[in-house]
Symmetry: D2
Subunit: 238 residues, 4 copies
Amino acid sequence: MSDALEQALEAAFAEATRRYKERGFQRRIGFGSKPALISVDLANAWTRPGNPFTCEHVDDQIIPSMQALLKSFRKYDFPVVHVTTCYQITDRKNSNTDMGLWHDKIPVDVVAQSNPELWAIDSRIAPIEGEQLLIKKRASSFHGTYLAGYLRAAGVDTILVTGVTASACVRETICDGLADGFRTIAVKEAIGDRVPGAVLWNLFDIDAKFGDVETTETCLKYLDRIGQAKLASEKLAA
Amino acid sequence: MSDALEQALEAAFAEATRRYKERGFQRRIGFGSKPALISVDLANAWTRPGNPFTCEHVDDQIIPSMQALLKSFRKYDFPVVHVTTCYQITDRKNSNTDMGLWHDKIPVDVVAQSNPELWAIDSRIAPIEGEQLLIKKRASSFHGTYLAGYLRAAGVDTILVTGVTASACVRETICDGLADGFRTIAVKEAIGDRVPGAVLWNLFDIDAKFGDVETTETCLKYLDRIGQAKLASEKLAA
Amino acid sequence: MSDALEQALEAAFAEATRRYKERGFQRRIGFGSKPALISVDLANAWTRPGNPFTCEHVDDQIIPSMQALLKSFRKYDFPVVHVTTCYQITDRKNSNTDMGLWHDKIPVDVVAQSNPELWAIDSRIAPIEGEQLLIKKRASSFHGTYLAGYLRAAGVDTILVTGVTASACVRETICDGLADGFRTIAVKEAIGDRVPGAVLWNLFDIDAKFGDVETTETCLKYLDRIGQAKLASEKLAA
Amino acid sequence: MSDALEQALEAAFAEATRRYKERGFQRRIGFGSKPALISVDLANAWTRPGNPFTCEHVDDQIIPSMQALLKSFRKYDFPVVHVTTCYQITDRKNSNTDMGLWHDKIPVDVVAQSNPELWAIDSRIAPIEGEQLLIKKRASSFHGTYLAGYLRAAGVDTILVTGVTASACVRETICDGLADGFRTIAVKEAIGDRVPGAVLWNLFDIDAKFGDVETTETCLKYLDRIGQAKLASEKLAA
């Protein structure tokens, strides 16, 4: 991202923040009592070079943040859902496709279900036993999936959302998560995109209206706090 | 089913029909202009002997009806969706399961995703290329799936619903299909269950309030009519 | 209901129960830790004489049960949602109607939003301040409404469902409630219908697969138990 | 908006467009055969001065565009849905509120259902008979409402979306509309916000991935074309 863009956006955010504060936006939703990690589209088509969906800052930011988060979620046995996207019918001329109309906007036709290598979760952060792999067809991890009902049944009240992209699947997942009644946290370093400025302006909008943007470090501290309490209570019950 | 039950139900339905007609229920929703076939849970755990989910009248009624319907849908190239059900986490003591709470009512824990033989569509009516296989987690084929959005994108306005069971997944699929804006047709011979009377009373409720119960023969005639018109219009366009 | 029907259904239920038990159905979902009362369509068009939607056993069973439940929910300050149904456009020839396609099956066109007397909650169990009135358009109280997201945000994990009818709006609300991750309880005496046998067979299906059918008395005992614990914990916190 | 911001964003969009084109994003979804107008939150709290929700460019851009669109939709009798937002329980300390958790981010607590003046549609573009007023609780006009099912039942395949704000309710409505299977068109001049740059970057993201951004003029030409065809076909049928 150019310095000019960064400076112009920071100036715009400063003015917007002034207005938002005055009017009562940008409130804090806060962390709740049982978190789940919702990791969106960190599959090879998005994390590895050479695909139309390839994103930036995967190796230096997203993967390290995700590895730290996974370590903590696994230590305390909080639910982890790995979300990915693929399609059974990828012929764009076939109106009977599970792509719906999305291929009329973006190249979802490249992610064929018949080629699992493309939509498999990146091996550096691959699911382990007990972690769900959820296949979605649209941007949001909630829309047209069983995610909300499953999280409620599991007693989850807070979702930490990571992955790509800030301007599509991550943002939609956060907006729907809030609408479905979950405290929504966007993990700053673990969210990426593929065009200049898109992470910045989308995280700004999200933090103003739909969820708290927090650093990986803040999230890890929260997980330790709530996780230690969980372990203590389980020890008492045993 | 015992004769006593059948006679008692027929008498109850006669009295109910009298009241419903008087009050304006039991109207006909009718067939629309573009149908899809939604075949619910006709997978081995439901269609073959020896499973808790095994249903009755599969071989003598449901499979023959489905074979006739599939032949017609394929002839005219109308969309077919094969719906099945399975779970990634089937340990009932694990609160973090995609079964949600349903295993607290019925034995969904027997249908593990890791055992595809159980949830594969019955080979006698197996999907062919271009037909979708949709995995659901709950009773309704619409709840927590992309089905409604996909059907709308495909221009479908009518769904013919088949499969098992009348008292659960078929009924829920029909109720949701209507609520989502589709003309809903329950194909009489192609719908089954596993306890006495359940098909009868559920089809009665459906026909009174949620969709038209029609015979396979009536459905085939409709498909021929609308299908021939489609072929003629495609010939003109070519 | 005729004796013959009741006897035939009881015999069918006995045989079905034998099969269901053998196969692992009819499990108990149980009561959770924070209940809400979802009261479905107990509005004048359904509870008072002379409307196509008028139901049976309103005065002698449903209203007394509801009054006892409301007293307890209000005593312990647990959430209550009164659900009703009405439409802005009730001309059946207008394809642009919020009735969707439902008027093609049942006489929803009689419940015009412009006539609030019809869809107002029965005055014997009317909402008080702090209790929501939710207007739905379809059978389920969850489908096309904000109910699931709101209940999740409120920390509710259990819904007690009452109202009419067993064969439509109550059953759909229970099925969707379970699918959305809530423990679902059907309150026996507080659920009605308008044709012979419909309450019996629908409660039987529900109890086998979608929620526990419990008496008002059992529900009141649960509410006292959980409510007293709530009051005690609030006293401690104060 | 400052010149520096506008120039920086235009440069960023140019670079993003280069990448998107190369990778197959920014495709055109196009207009379909039956449109509906979905007008989001053009109610007094958003369109008139002095409210935390007050937006910019209402009088000089949004209202004139909306008036032109309404004239055309009414001339050809295409469906119009006016969407607004309000709440029954606006006490932020009451966990049992239909605001869900949204008041933890933005000041939705100012829009009380008990004060209809706040959430009534702006009188300059008020609903006429036959146009629906839809009350939503979340950002998206689809999430937790009957909108998708109703539009499907009405045979709508294309939605023109207008209103406020670009960064919340309009964007969410467009993303969900596409996911639900509708061709989504964002009407450029009729979409507003309240902080600098937000309209620009949100319309850019939308056009890249979720719907076509089109001018009012282009939309009016489409409406004339499809509307004249409709009138001609109705004349033939009569």
